[in-house]
């Protein structure tokens, strides 16, 4: 008889060991999958995990790792604060879209004027856009007790339709020969979020991601507010005695995660992506939820988890290109990696015992 016993404190050893074990297990299971598809498993695994970091063109890929991981980390850092407090914002995708629309809206309204004030104004608008979108579930939750999980998720679809409407209507590039999509902000110097140091992939969004990691770390682990947030998540009733006002807590958590998601959207649309199109949101908001949990809701963990997710995307493309591995195999492989990471996490918080439970 196998049974689980909750650890009083999470195991330090397993905190470090489980992700490593999970990645190794994924390599074995993924290797079997790749072998079944007639590919050399060792080569495929190397392409995904090794080559982007240390392979022949690694200097380029390392920068791209930051480009891909930046928005994931930025969003996940904000989400984790809420998740710790038991505030479930799963609508970051919608907040990401609204941040992008608001920020790009400022740029498109100002076009073609050049001014150093435009980009800061866009950043502000992006954060506000995401914040405002997140305040809808926050207000409904605080006022009526409506589930923020469900409202924030519904708001994603509303945002997606609004994005399509913008791309085909008001924000369509008047010089785009009738094709959907806005002007490319990369070609509008005042609005462009450029690579700060050539070849490194660093842009303002990546900088913001690092700031968010540090900021949320200080907030959650070095500040009394973080203590209150964690108490609210672990013991909601006790939190009231500790002076936590539920409504304010909800507004703070949703507002923060919404603003960060909005910023991520703004930096993406003004930088690497460049354009508002109907498919510009590539699911970052949802992937960030996975990143937040993979990082165990800890800022440092999120940083590493974001980089790992980005690595599988970049390595996955490389494996497709070099080995003709189908994109579907990469997707299944990513799914496996997540399963193993999430499943193995059990060992951090529980002890596995053999034999009968003591009465």
């Amino acid at each position: 008889m196998i049974r689980l016993e909750r650890r009083a404190v999470p195991s330090r050893l397993w905190t470090v060991a489980t992700p490593v074990a999970a990645v190794l297990a994924t390599m074995v299971a993924g290797g079997i999958l790749f072998a079944a598809l007639g590919k050399n498993p060792a080569e495929a695994i190397r392409m995904i995990f090794w080559d982007p970091l240390f392979g022949p063109n690694a200097s380029y890929f390392r920068g791209q790792l930051l480009v891909k991981a930046g928005p994931l980390i930025l969003i996940a850092a904000g989400l984790a604060v809420g998740f710790r407090a038991g505030v479930w914002n799963i609508g970051a995708e919608g907040q990401y879209i609204m941040g992008a629309i608001a920020g790009a809206g400022v740029a498109l309204a100002a076009y073609p004027a050049e001014s150093p004030m435009i980009f800061p104004a866009m950043v502000l608008a992006g954060a506000l856009g995401g914040w405002a979108w997140a305040m809808i579930p926050a207000v409904l939750k605080a006022r009526f007790g409506t589930s923020e999980i469900l409202v924030s998720l519904m708001m994603v679809y509303v945002a997606q339709n609004l994005l399509a409407y913008m791309a085909f209507g008001p924000m369509k590039n008047p010089q785009g020969f009738g094709f959907p999509g806005s002007r490319n902000l990369q070609q509008y110097p005042s609005a462009h979020n450029p690579e700060l140091i050539a070849g490194t992939g660093m842009h303002w969004g990546v900088v913001a991601a690092f700031v968010a990691v540090i900021g949320t770390y200080v907030l959650m682990h070095r500040h009394i507010a973080g203590f209150r947030i964690r108490v609210a998540g672990d013991a909601p009733k006790a939190a009231r005695f500790a002076g936590v006002v539920p409504g304010r807590l909800i507004a703070f958590c949703l507002g923060l995660s919404g603003a960060l998601a909005g910023l991520a959207g703004l930096f993406e649309v003004a930088g690497p992506s460049g354009q508002i199109t109907d498919s510009f949101n590539a699911g970052y908001g949802f992937t960030a939820i996975i990143v937040a949990f993979l990082g165990r809701l800890h800022p440092v963990g999120i940083l590493l988890a974001g980089l790992l997710m980005a690595l599988t995307y970049i390595g996955g493309d490389l494996a497709q290109l070099m080995l003709r591995l189908p994109a579907a195999a990469i997707q299944a492989f990513q799914g496996m990696l997540l399963f193993f990471l999430l499943g193995f996490d059990l060992l951090t918080n529980f002890r596995i015992r053999l034999g009968r439970a003591r009465a």
């Binding site: 689980l4 909750r6 598809l37 479930w88 799963i90 409904l140 009526f144 007790g145 409506t146 589930s147 999980i149 469900l150 409202v151 998720l153 519904m154 708001m155 679809y157 509303v158 339709n161 609004l162 399509a164 409407y165 085909f168 949802f286 992937t287 939820i289 996975i290 937040a292 949990f293 993979l294 189908p326 994109a327 579907a328 195999a329 990469i330 997707q331 299944a332 492989f333 990513q334 799914g335 496996m336 997540l338 399963f339 999430l342 499943g343 193995f344 996490d345 059990l346 918080n349 529980f350 439970a357």
Partner: protein, 310 residues
């Protein structure tokens, strides 16, 4: 019955067929959520049902066996989710998202040899002269058996949850797993069973897409239907009868906007497409405001991890 040149009976018949996949998936998800588990992997289970059902029907030559295979594929995915969340106690939101990713990938791999094939046809049931009745004929007596099955399942789930002892236990588990456990009910077993049932229905819905609605296999063919199913459960405030209304509303808005376009009306498609989600939010607000001081509408243990410490 005609309004603005549109035959309403025909429109209703169309939206019934259009809504069947999301109705099936939403009914299944409702059972899982009633047991207290939030499975966001509906899209992944549906697409596995789509390829499982398609492959099953092509290999055996029988659509019925295909649907059975689709249900099994969906249930298999659900059991994977159940193992992770119920045995390994992983987070349900993250696991559900991973399940969708995995399902989309795996289905595409399995489907590679089924591209460009036509499946055996699922015939409409014949009701003789009833089919020719005005209004009622096209609405009630001119569908394939899966449409009727989906309606029967909604009714069956409704009765099961409200009238049967097993249904009562399932709801108890969803409301308070600790209390249910203290009363001696097998919380994990109930949840695994509810998840498997939900997965089977999602698989059935997916198979309906690949065997009847399209009918062909193509990668990513569910195109977000699983996410709509999740919205419908919320819209329905976890009541089976309202799932039917929700599915017909969500399916209906798509059908209606396309129908209006065909009739020559210029309509803002994207703005109209937001409507069901906004209505869902409004419904949520109304019911939560009404239940503020009373019983919660959502199962109280929804999405929470259960670990029996004793």
């Amino acid at each position: 019955m005609m309004i603005a040149g549109i035959d309403i009976a025909q429109l209703v018949a169309m939206l019934m067929v259009a809504s069947t996949p999301i109705l099936l998936a939403a009914t299944g998800e409702l059972v899982a959520e009633k047991a207290g588990v939030l499975n966001l992997g509906v899209e992944g289970m549906m697409i596995m049902g789509a390829i499982g059902g398609f492959a099953g029907a092509v290999v055996t030559g029988s659509p019925a066996l295909g649907f059975a295979a689709g249900a099994m594929a969906g249930a298999g995915m659900a059991l994977l989710f159940a193992f992770l969340t119920q045995v390994l106690l992983s987070n349900q939101v993250a696991t559900g998202l991973a399940l969708t990713l995995f399902g989309l990938g795996l289905s595409a791999l399995l489907g590679q040899s089924y591209q460009g094939i036509k499946p055996p046809a699922t015939e409409k049931l014949t009701f003789g002269p009833l089919t020719d009745l005005p209004v009622l004929g096209p609405v009630l007596f001119n569908h394939d058996w899966v449409v009727y099955l989906s309606l029967a399942l909604v009714a069956g789930v409704g009765l099961f949850l409200s009238r049967s002892r097993a249904g009562l236990i399932l709801r108890a588990v969803g409301e308070s797993h600790d209390a249910a456990h203290a009363l001696g009910y097998p919380v994990v077993a109930v949840r695994v069973a509810a998840l498997a049932f939900g997965g089977a229905l999602a698989g059935l819905g997916g198979a309906y897409l690949s065997l009847v609605r399209v009918p062909q296999w193509a990668e990513g063919m569910t195109a977000g239907a699983g996410w709509i199913a999740l919205a419908i459960v919320v819209f329905a405030s976890w009541k089976p009868g309202r799932v039917l209304i929700g599915a017909y509303l969500f399916g209906g808005v798509t059908v209606l906007q396309l129908r209006l376009q065909a009739a020559g009306f210029a309509i803002p498609v994207q703005l109209l497409s937001m409507a069901p989600y906004l209505i869902t939010i409004a419904v949520l607000v109304i019911i939560s405001a009404r239940h503020r001081r009373g019983a919660q509408v959502a199962p109280a243990s929804l999405g929470r991890v259960f670990h029996a410490s004793r």
